[in-house]
Symmetry: C2
Subunit: 178 residues, 2 copies
């Protein structure tokens, strides 16, 4: 196979916010030329395809400022550095939707934006749900909705759902007959 | 429905690179408290699920610096501001893989990272492929591979493919029996 690697010459931190940690690196290409790579470091995220005993997917509607629009997504959250993705997923599911799950299994790994964001999203599938209580952060606003699985898949196929992690979780579950 | 909107109070440009255009905005939440939103403006992208007459998916292996790894993806590219996504997709497919298509249709819209990146990816499906010649930029390195559709779907289900746009395109095509 062709060697496709790019070697780091130098790395400059541009900005460190709460979410975005931006770098501008100089790299050496395969043709020995130099190029610049802008990229964002990210601790990664988790999301949960939680399915009730009645076969409904637990989803959340949430405002996404970068798109100035409300999105229908599965519950998700950002990892703390070094945090176990499964524990993070269990916590986020309960905080956002008020559900705990008897079965909570790894389902898929997804890279939303390989070109310039280092984020990896760990997708879990949760079943055997039992209701506790939603515990949102004071500055977190979202609305929980339970949607029958096949209806959610139809929303994905029809373009009503556009969020990548939600599409991957629903369509993979559909193909795998989960 | 609950009002989920966040109102912009002020917007500050942090960085403008070739790929990343970063802002830090102050917003007013539903509880009248202020919060900060870090977000990246992006002109959007396209990708193409191109299927040969033999039922093979035309894919590319490419180094992704943000992950320090080679990814197997469908051909893709970034829109120039104001550019028609379909024309961009037709151009990127030919440049990266050396294929032109008789049929080139819109297939899906996907938002890779709604939380903090404004990018929208337009997915097209291309059939009736005819070989011309690959025309890579001098600093672009990638390797074209043609993989039977069901084998590509298996790579997606098995976690060998992790790129979000590629997963969505393959799994949606599988569910829709394309």
């Amino acid at each position: 196979m062709m060697n496709l690697e790019e070697k780091t010459i130098s790395s400059k931190e541009i900005y460190k916010g709460k979410v975005v940690h931006l770098f501008e690196d100089s790299v050496l290409l395969q043709n020995d030329k130099e190029a610049t790579r802008e990229w964002i470091e990210h601790p990664g995220g988790v999301c949960v395809l939680a399915i009730t005993d009645e076969g409904k997917v637990v989803m959340v509607r949430q405002y996404r400022y970068a798109h100035k629009a409300v999105f229908l997504e599965i519950p998700a959250g950002k990892l703390e550095p070094g945090e176990d993705p499964k524990l993070c997923g269990i916590r986020e599911l309960e905080e956002e939707t008020g559900y705990v799950a008897e079965s909570f299994e790894f389902f898929a790994k997804m890279i939303p934006t390989p070109a310039y964001v280092g984020e990896v999203i760990h997708i879990y599938i949760a079943r055997g749900l039992r209701k506790t209580a939603q515990r949102l952060d004071p500055d977190e606003f979202l609305q929980v909705e339970e949607i029958p699985f096949d209806e959610a898949v139809k929303l994905a196929l029809d373009g009503e759902i556009t969020d990548a992690k939600t599409l991957v979780a629903l369509l993979k579950a559909k193909v795998g007959n989960n």
